[in-house]
């Protein structure tokens, strides 16, 4: 089980957090997602088949890229 918090500069309202959560929760292997408008962050817990690369790609894909 891996857990990491990403900062996503594009998050600017509660709809954004919902969109990020919905997208990630649809991926296989993701067990929990929590995103926060105030800190513009999302905390993800995952297991294989999900991976850091896949998560970053998914975020990139929906136009909420994580800050490096």
């Amino acid at each position: 089980m891996e857990k990491q918090t990403f900062t996503i500069p594009n998050i600017s309202c509660s709809h954004c957090t919902k969109a990020v959560e919905n997208e990630l929760l649809e991926m296989d292997g993701i067990s929990s997602v929590y995103s926060d408008v105030e800190t513009k962050s999302v905390t993800v817990q995952w297991d294989t088949p999900a991976s850091l690369e896949k998560i970053l790609a998914a975020l990139e894909d929906i136009n909420y890229p994580a800050a490096q």
Binding site: N10, H15, C16, K18, A19, V37, E38, N63, Y64
Partner: protein
């Protein structure tokens, strides 16, 4: 298989990313979508879809699932109507909620006050009266007041406390405590239903007034988009073909006939004409164009047929960039939190702490639970000042009402608030400081065959009487204003972009620009210095030639608005920095600026650079007010802290602005600033008075006077009458204070 293209209003978007969320949802999750694009600022979705695979209903469902609301057009009306209907529905919703609150709370208030002040008989203390009160208060609490519960919940989740929290908490405590009293008599003997209902109703009144005055930004952007034609004529292999604008590519050769809008930004390769760029630049005079010149999409071709090569299409055109800037500026404008909310964010937690301390102390010292709880309720009820609901709306109503009387329309309360903080006023030159239309300024007779200047004017005006050109119109209008009649003329002929000619009394008369006569090899050497002198003053010079002899010169210029000098002086006296912004060169700009005593000039500004200049001033930490009238001013109007549109300006400017000066005079700017300053002062005074009585009584409610036995009982234990009196007094003070603004 048939493709459908629709534009649907979408509500509920709170940031620019929301628009992208919707686009993505549609493209990914709805089959049959060909393209979907959502405009955040205009709240519109443009969608193209295969009608055999999906329907508008399914699209709306997908949007709803993503957390937004699509407003589908009803069968009778078009899309534009659907948006209007949605806005009207919102106003109606607020109005109905307020009306329900007003009726029920009104009856409740009158009955309850009459009972407390013993104006009606003993029957009013019968138990059924309390149940009747409950019946009256419940719809107000949960129908009219529902928005506050929802708002308070959202706020608390974000760990802030605003007005909604105060309203929801205060009214709920009053309401539920009263219900408790009726079920468990040991809790007390007085109900506070009217307090709860009146608080909610008064604050709803403010919300209703606000929803009625909301700005219409969506319509503004649609108007801009409507400027470009939907179709363009493309020449391919020597054949003319009409194609949709979206299919025009860079490098295409386009044909634009007289009277048509120019579809894209391009370069003229054939033809001479003049182009009306007023909607873009605000400049009143058409600009002459010949091969090699550039033209801008959205401007209107006047007389000649133009062939042009498309240089910039789609998102790259100047107009598209202006539209985008307006959208971004509107999207980035952070909503100003209401003053009442700011006060509440401190006040609410403080009151809650006081209430809890009161409860704890009474329980520990007194040793009994019920009296301690009654104290807690008393503190919360007395602390929820219903005058707070009146403080802002009444002052804003009085302020905006007074403004409307003077021709100053504030679009919303934020505009009113922001106007009071302005430090720098940026004035657009043409149409704002000046009248924005050409008038004759100089008549110089040269030929000795003419009796006087009047005859020169009459000659030129007789030729120009049939002219459609603004310069010609200015000459004809000037002659008419002098009471001159026109001579008959024959063989009238206009040479596009140069001038006009006609035969009067058998003699050929030419009226036109100096360049025309150079081309005809007619020497203007004798008046060269005179022409230069007039041009240096920013004037347009026309030459009149009668029977092959130089008759005279007529200069035409945009002149100062009669109020401008006084208006700018007044702004200086208000300690405001005044800046003039113009696309003209510094020489012409300086000429106008000197006349109105403006020191700061920003000249040679391209139409799409105006908002950058405003931003620069803002980056220096200044609160900037932009005053303008043209489409090119719209982005600057939107990005400025306050945008003011001169009432005679273009629709787009008027709709983008926060404040409209409907009398078309610059004097409105200083009036608006004066008015907003005094309105904000009134609001602050109101907030003070709204809190004053209640804050004074909080210690009383907490029981601070209880130990002093010589003090009357209604003060030792907070009596409902004391609470009612405080409420009435604070409301009365606030309303009277606001009305003072209207009378001043």
């Amino acid at each position: 298989m048939s493709q459908q293209k629709k534009t649907i209003p979408v509500r509920g978007m709170t940031c620019a990313n929301c628009a992208m969320n919707i686009e993505r949802t549609l493209n990914k999750k709805v089959p049959g979508i060909i393209s979907a694009s959502v405009n955040f600022a205009s709240e519109q979705l443009s969608v193209e879809y295969e009608s055999s695979e999906t329907s508008l209903d399914e699209i709306a469902k997908a949007i709803q699932k993503a957390g937004f609301e699509a407003v589908l057009p009803d069968e009778s009306g078009g899309n534009e109507d659907a948006e209007q209907l949605a806005r009207a529905a919102e106003i109606k919703n607020q109005t109905v909620k307020f009306a329900v609150g007003a009726v029920f709370a009104g009856i409740l208030f009158v009955l309850s006050m009459s009972r407390d002040f013993k104006l009606i008989g003993q029957w009013s203390h019968d138990p059924w009266v309390n149940w009747f009160f409950l019946f009256l208060a419940t719809p107000v609490q949960f129908y009219t007041g529902w928005d506050y519960y929802a708002g308070a919940f959202k706020n608390l989740r974000n760990k802030t406390a605003n007005m909604d929290v105060l309203v929801a908490l205060g009214s709920s405590v009053a309401y539920f405590y009263s219900v408790g009293v009726m079920i468990f008599p040991f809790l007390g003997d007085h109900v506070y239903f009217e307090t709860a209902a009146v608080i909610i109703t008064l604050i709803k009144l403010g919300k209703m007034l606000e929803s009625r005055t909301k700005g219409k930004t969506g319509a503004a952007i649609r108007k801009l988009m409507d400027l470009t034609p939907k179709m363009a004529v493309v020449i391919k292999n020597d054949e003319e073909k009409e194609v949709p604008l979206a299919e025009v590519a860079e490098g295409d050769i386009l044909l634009v006939r007289p009277g048509q809008s120019i579809p894209v930004d391009g370069e003229i390769i054939k033809g001479i004409s003049s182009v009306d760029e007023s909607m873009l630049s605000g400049e009143p005079l058409p600009v002459d164009k010949e091969p090699g010149d550039t033209v801008t999409g959205g401007t209107i071709n006047q007389q000649g047929v133009l062939t042009l090569q498309a240089r910039k299409v789609g998102k790259d055109t100047a107009l598209a960039r202006i539209i985008q800037m307006v959208q971004e500026a509107q999207g980035s404008k952070a909503p100003i939190q209401a003053l009442a909310d700011k006060t509440a964010s401190i006040f609410v937690p403080v009151v809650m702490v006081i209430a809890l301390i009161t409860f704890a102390l009474w329980w520990i010292i007194g040793g009994e639970f019920v009296p301690a709880m009654i104290r807690l309720v008393a503190v919360l009820v007395i602390a929820c000042p219903c005058a707070l609901g009146l403080a802002t709306p009444t002052a804003i109503m009085a302020g905006t009402g007074k403004g409307a009387e003077q021709g100053i329309l504030f679009k919303n309360s934020e505009a009113l608030e922001n106007t009071s903080k302005i430090q720098t006023v940026v004035l657009d030159k043409t149409g704002t400081i000046t009248q924005g239309k050409p008038v004759v300024t100089d008549l110089i007779k040269i030929s000795s065959n003419l009796k006087n200047e009047t005859e020169l004017l009459k000659t030129a005006a007789s030729v120009e009487q049939g002219s459609e050109h603004p310069l010609g119109k200015a000459i004809a209008a000037h002659a008419q204003s002098q009471g001159l009649s026109f001579w008959n003329c024959d063989n009238f002929k206009a040479s596009g972009g140069f001038g006009v000619q006609a035969v009067i009394h058998g003699k050929e008369v030419f009226v036109g620009k100096p360049g025309w006569f150079d081309k005809m090899e007619f020497s203007l050497k004798s008046v060269e210095s005179e022409i230069l002198r007039l041009q240096n003053q920013g004037k347009t010079v026309m030459i009149v030639v009668n029977d092959n002899e130089l008759a005279g010169l007529i200069a035409v210029a945009d002149t100062l608005h009669p109020d401008s000098v006084k208006a700018v002086d007044k702004l200086h006296r208000q300690h405001l920095e005044v800046v003039m912004l113009t696309g003209d060169n510094l020489r012409t700009a300086r000429n106008i600026a000197d006349q109105v005593h403006i020191k700061h000039i920003v000249s040679d500004v391209q139409p799409d650079e105006k908002s950058d200049k405003v931003k620069e001033l803002q980056n220096q930490g200044k609160k900037v007010c932009m005053v303008g009238d043209g489409i090119n001013d719209a982005p600057a109007l939107a990005i400025a802290d306050v945008g003011m549109a001169i009432g005679t300006g273009t629709d787009i400017a008027i709709e983008t602005a926060d404040v409209i000066l409907s009398r078309g005079s610059l004097k409105g700017v200083s009036h608006a600033i004066d008015l907003s300053r005094s309105t904000m002062l009134t609001i602050r005074q109101n907030l003070f008075w709204a809190f004053f009585y209640n804050v004074m009584l909080i210690p009383v409610a907490a029981g601070i006077l209880f130990p002093f036995e010589s003090i009357p009982g209604f003060l030792r234990n907070l009596h409902p009458i004391t609470a009612a009196l405080a409420m009435s007094l604070s409301s009365f003070t606030v309303v009277t204070n606001s009305l003072r603004l209207y009378r001043s």
